[in-house]
Amino acid sequence: MTADSSVVAAVADAHRREWAFVLAATVRVTRDLDLAEECVQDAYARALATWRSRGVPSNPGAWLTTVARRRAVDLLRRDATLRRSLPLLLDDQVDQGPAELSSHEVEDDRLRLIFTCCHPALAPEAQVALTLRLLCGLTTAEVARAFLVSEPTMAARITRAKKKIAAARIPYRVPPAAELPERIHAVLTVVHLLFTTGHTAPAGADLVRRDLVERSLDLARILRLLLPDDADVAGLLALILLTDARSATRVAAEGRLLLLEEQDRSQWDRSAISEGVALVREALRRRPPGRFALMAAIAAVHAEAPTWQDTDWREVVALYDVLVQIWPSPVVALNRAVAVGLASGPAAGLAALDALAAEPQLAGYGYLASARADFLRRLGRTREARQAYEEALLLTENAVERDFLTARLKDLTP
């Protein structure tokens, strides 16, 4: 690597690792999200030039923060009218500079930014967009691509959300202890949504959107660092690690979808699995266990089973039984029904699935049809299985999933 390309790599690395840290600390000076973003972008541009001549600093995050905050103080001093005209963010501890800061206060700032982006008074899609933009430093074009909407649509969504934060005075702070569990839940929902969107992209040529999965993992790690005692945070990080540990084996070389049953378990990421399993154990210590901890525990049963045949399906069903109690969602009930089929045979599974047929939320959900198709196929009810595969095909836009269903259908054609 040349000196020049190593600086470019160092700036890219700092962008990925330090963006939220630098922006959150700068917002404290500007009390305006747009101005803070501008100053942080400027700091990264300067890093590229300065680090080339003077070398990469030992603490890139602190260097970038100092530069961004100095820039903000300068701009605000030079243009007092700018300061007056901004609808300022509400901050109980306004920090007018100096531009230098201790690392202790910064961690707190990142949490403020997370809670502001994921405030329940913002629309869910706006929470996700703001989180990617402000915490992960994605450009508006990148956020738009991630959610398959046009760039002007996404820009309007982000602008509207920022305006609401200022106009309704959504505070830039960590909520008080009494509100914390509910607010942490809102944050975790956003991170989980990012992960699931990345793990199986709703549409497009690729099954997995690696960028979104990695962003969700970064965010879960930041939350774990900032809220080390929260069992739900531990549960979500565990869920992401354990599910993503299988990612290398989900698609065959030629692009074909591989089911859990067919995956090469020797290729699963063992270090992610052991980290995830330790987190699950910690998260399950809280009673009653939370939603993410239970989902992670199910993922852990799969991760630790040496083969598909050796999977402890009774344990999986038992975990789903608890999950469906605390999180009664039709999708959870569907997954439980599939596990019942694997624990007690396809006929039992089919009966459990058919009990869900009237569930309106599952009406357009392709996995119900494909799960039915699979049990019918195992029972030798070929004609009905084909019908169910055809139905499932109508309900997915993901090319890898479509290829899989088409192949299954072909196998059943006389």
């Binding site: 509400l90 008074a121 106009a167 309704a168 005075r169 959504i170 505070p171 909520p175 509100e179």
Partner: protein, 115 residues
């Protein structure tokens, strides 16, 4: 500090079914709400039911169309409001959660300020 309007949207039929006893109960709850939030409250009123509402819109010919009824016909109608002062949306939501609205819910809107 900022001002917020808390708008009470409720199903009028609910009060009709609850009768006088229901109204008395609601009145008691509103009085308690007022006492508990006296520091934040800047004003508030109950409105007559939507049957007493009149809506006025500009019509295509440049005149006015005056019609009987509320501006938007919905199951839950605007039935009253509180004007409060709060430091942030979180504080305003904390007050709004205490507003008695057994047959509906409330909406919180920041009061806009002009310099």
């Amino acid at each position: 500090m900022a001002e917020y309007l808390i708008l009470l949207y409720e199903d009028e039929a609910g009060y009709a079914r609850a009768g006088q006893q229901g109204l008395d109960q609601a009145m008691k709850e509103h009085n308690a709400f007022g006492e508990n939030n006296a520091a934040a409250l800047r004003g508030g009123n109950a409105l007559e039911p939507t049957g007493a509402a009149t809506s006025i819109r500009k019509d295509a010919s440049g005149g006015f169309a005056v019609t009987d009824g509320p501006f938007a016909e919905t199951k839950e109608a605007l039935g009253g409001y509180y004007l409060i002062e709060a430091a942030s949306l979180d504080e305003a939501i904390a007050v709004a959660k205490q507003v008695p609205a057994p047959f509906g819910g409330v909406e919180v809107r920041p009061i806009r300020t002009f310099d």
